[in-house]
Symmetry: C2
Subunit: 397 residues, 2 copies
C-alpha cells in the first residue's frame, strides 16, 4: 500500500456523488443539482461568436495563456465587474478554473493544518471541501433570513482570534437561499474591522436576482470597499454562461494576488484558453447582459412554480422563505428530524434533493434539506414537490 499524505485523509467521500447519479436517472425528478438547465445555455450565440473570430484568436484558444488569464478577457471582465461598482483598478483580477479553484487557491494561501476558519452554517459544500483539504478546523456561524448571525460571529471570533478568514455567500446563499440585508452587511463589516481576519465574499449567484428593487442588498462588500478589511471577492461564469467552461475569478488585494498567482501556476499553469476566448467574445458582444436578463426571468418563473407547490403541499411545521433570486429553497424541519429518512422515501417515490447535514461544517445537523428549482420545468416541479411533501409527512407526521 502506498503511503498517502495526512492531508488526503481529511477529504470525505462525497454523498453528493451518489445523489448525482440518482439525479441523472430519467425516472427521478431531481431537485438535487446546482446546475443551470441544459436548455438555457446560449449554445448558438456562442458558436456564432466563435465562428466569426479571426484565425489569430482561434489559434490563441489552443495555446497556453498567461497564468492570471488572457489579457483580453481580463480587460472585458474588468468592464463587467466595474459595472457592479467593484474596485477593479485598486485590486488584481485572477481568472481561475471555475470559482471552486478560486476557493481552493485561497484555502491554500491561508490555511495551515489545524487552523480555524469561519464559515456560515449551512455552507456551500465546495467551499467546505476545499478548506477541509487543507485540514482547516471549520467553525460554523448560523445564518438567518437577513444573513450571518452577528452575535454568533462575534462569539466565534472571540473564541478564534487567529481565524484565517471568514467565508460567506451573501447573495442567494447556497444552500440557504438568503440574500443579506444592507444592514447586516454593515454590521458584518463593523464586526470584522480591527480583527485582521480577511473576508472571502463568494458572489456566484448575484446576477440572478428576481427584484430590481434589491440593488442595494446586492451591492458587494468588495464594492463598499470597507477600510481595514482584506476582501477577496470570487465569482463565476457558471451561472451566467455555463459551468462546463470552468471559468471563475477572484478580485483581491495585490499582496494576496501575488501568492495566489504562484499557487495557480503550480495547480494547472493557466485556465483553459479555449473557453476564455469564448467568454471574452460573449462579454464583448454585449450578449452576456441580455442573456443574463433572460435566464433571470426563467429562474424567477421556476422559483414561483416551486413556491406555489410548496404552499399547496407542505405541512405548516416546515419553515422556509420565498427566494429573491438564485437556485435554492431551504426547508427547515422540526428539531431532531433526520432528513436522510425523508430523502430515502422521496427517492422511492421518484424525487431527490440534498439533505441538510451535507452543508453543515460539522456534518451532523440534518433537520433541513435543499431544493433546487433551477433545472426543472414548472410541470416537473408540480409533479415532484408532492412526492417530497409526502415523504416529509411520512417521517414527521
Amino acid at each position: 500500500m502506498p503511503r498517502f499524505s495526512k492531508a488526503v485523509s481529511s477529504l470525505r467521500s462525497s454523498e453528493i456523488r451518489d445523489l448525482m447519479t440518482l439525479a441523472s436517472r430519467p425516472d427521478i425528478i431531481s431537485f438535487a443539482g446546482g446546475m443551470p438547465g441544459n436548455d438555457l445555455f446560449p449554445v448558438e450565440a456562442v458558436e456564432e461568436l466563435y465562428r466569426r473570430l479571426d484565425i489569430k484568436k482561434k489559434q490563441a484558444a489552443f495555446q497556453y495563456g498567461p497564468t492570471p488569464g488572457l489579457p483580453s478577457l481580463l480587460e472585458s471582465l474588468e468592464g463587467f465587474l466595474e459595472k457592479k461598482g467593484l474596485p477593479v483598478k485598486e485590486n488584481r483580477l485572477l481568472i481561475t478554473t471555475g470559482s471552486q479553484q478560486a476557493l481552493n487557491i485561497l484555502g491554500k494561501a491561508f490555511i495551515d493544518p489545524g487552523e480555524p476558519v469561519l464559515v456560515e452554517n449551512p455552507c456551500f459544500i465546495g467551499a467546505l471541501s476545499a478548506f477541509r483539504s487543507y485540514e482547516a478546523e471549520l467553525r460554523g456561524v448560523p445564518v438567518d433570513i437577513d444573513g450571518i448571525s452577528i452575535e454568533g460571529l462575534r462569539q466565534e471570533i472571540s473564541r478564534n482570534e487567529k481565524a484565517k478568514f471568514l467565508y460567506i455567500t451573501p447573495y442567494f446563499h447556497n444552500p440557504a437561499g438568503v440574500l443579506y440585508t444592507a444592514e447586516r452587511k454593515n454590521q458584518l463589516i463593523a464586526t470584522l474591522q480591527g480583527t485582521n481576519i480577511p473576508l472571502i465574499e463568494d458572489d456566484a449567484y448575484g446576477d440572478l436576482y428576481f427584484f430590481e428593487g434589491d440593488q442595494e442588498r446586492l451591492k458587494p462588500i468588495k464594492a463598499i470597499n470597507p477600510d481595514g478589511i482584506n476582501v477577496c471577492y470570487t465569482g463565476s461564469f457558471s451561472k451566467i454562461l455555463g459551468p462546463g467552461l470552468r471559468l471563475g475569478w477572484m478580485l483581491v488585494p495585490e499582496k494576496i494576488y501575488a501568492k495566489c498567482e504562484l499557487i495557480k501556476q503550480s495547480a494547472d499553469a493557466c485556465s483553459p484558453s479555449f473557453t476564455q476566448v469564448l467568454a471574452d467574445a460573449f462579454i464583448r458582444s454585449g450578449q452576456i447582459y441580455s442573456y443574463v436578463a433572460s435566464v433571470r426571468q426563467e429562474y424567477k418563473k421556476r422559483a414561483a412554480a416551486m413556491v406555489a407547490a410548496l404552499r399547496e403541499h407542505l405541512p405548516s411545521y416546515v419553515q422556509w422563505d420565498e427566494p429573491r433570486g438564485g437556485f435554492y429553497i431551504w426547508l427547515t424541519l422540526p428539531k431532531g428530524t433526520d432528513a436522510t429518512r425523508i430523502v430515502t422515501l422521496a427517492i422511492a417515490g421518484g424525487a431527490v434533493f440534498v439533505v441538510g447535514k451535507t452543508f453543515d461544517p460539522a456534518g451532523e445537523q440534518n433537520n433541513a434539506l435543499r431544493l433546487s428549482y433551477c433545472n426543472n420545468t414548472p410541470e416537473q416541479i408540480a409533479e415532484g414537490i408532492p412526492i417530497v411533501a409526502q415523504a416529509i409527512r411520512a417521517v414527521c407526521g
Copy 2:
C-alpha cells in the same frame, strides 16, 4: 498584513514568467517556451467537428461533468491509450485540467511537509513547482543520455527509504531531451521493486518521436506493468491537440485513484466539459492519429534545422545530443559557467532561452541551458542560434 499559510512560502516567484514576457516580444527569437507552434494547431478540423455535433452534446459542453471526466471521453481516451499497450482495464483513468494538475493532485495525495521526493536532475519545472507547493524535500538524481542514473537512484533510495515517490519523464525529457533506453527502464524497474516507492511516469511528449525504430524505448513502464510497483502514468492533450484545452490525464491503480478523485473534486470540481467534448470528437474522428503524424514530421524538421545550426556555430566544448523526438535540446557548458550571464548577452543580441538552474531541484546548478525548437521556423532557428553561440563564446571563451 494577512497571515498566510506556511506552505505558500515554499513557492518561488518564477523566473520563467519574466522570460516568457521577453519571449513574446516580436524582436526576440524565443527558444524559451515549451509550447507547440501556433501555426500547427488543428483549428479548422476541430471547428468543423464541433459544428457537426448534435445539440445534446453541445449543451453538455456547457454543463458540469462528472469529476473523473465525461464518460464519452474516458471511453475514447481509453481506446487511444490501449493502442500504446497501457493496462486501461486494470487501472482507473482520471481526466485532469492539464497534466500539470495531475502532478499537483499526485503531490497532494502523497506529500506531507518535509518529506523526501525523488526527481530527475534536471527536472520539469512544473513538477518541481507542484511538489514544492506541498513542501516536499526534493532529491535530484542525475540523468545521462540513456536515462536516470541507476547508481544515483540507489544512493538516494538508501538515504531516503521513505521517499514518497519517484517522478520521471522518460520520453523526450523536458528539459534534457533524453529518451530512456529499454535497458535503463528495466534497471529502473528492478531498483524500485521491493521499495514501496511509487513511480510517477510523465509521458507528455512520447507521441512526438522522430524514428519508428524507437518503439521499444517508447513503451511506457506502465505498459510493461511491472510487479510490485504502483505506477502512476500521466499524459496530456497539450502536445497532440493544444495546451489551451487544459486537458491531461492520469492512469493509476484503483486505491490511488480514489484519493485523487476526491482531491480533484475539491480542486476544481471537474475538467472543462467544453474542451473535453472537443477532444473526444477529435479522437473519435480518427484525426488525432493523422494530426500527430503530421506534427511529428514538422518537429523533426525543426529539430534538424537546430541540429545543423548548432553543429555549425557552437564551440566544441559545449556538450549536447541530437534529439530523437520532443521539443528540446540541452546544452551542457564547462563546469562553473553561469548560464545567466549567457542569457543576458543573448537577450541583448535578440534571442532567449531558459537557463539550467531553473530545472535543478536545488535551484543552483547553472552550467547548462535549454533550447526549444518547437515554436520556430527553420529560418528563425538559423538566425537565432548564432546569437546564442556568440553569447556562449563571449562568456566561456
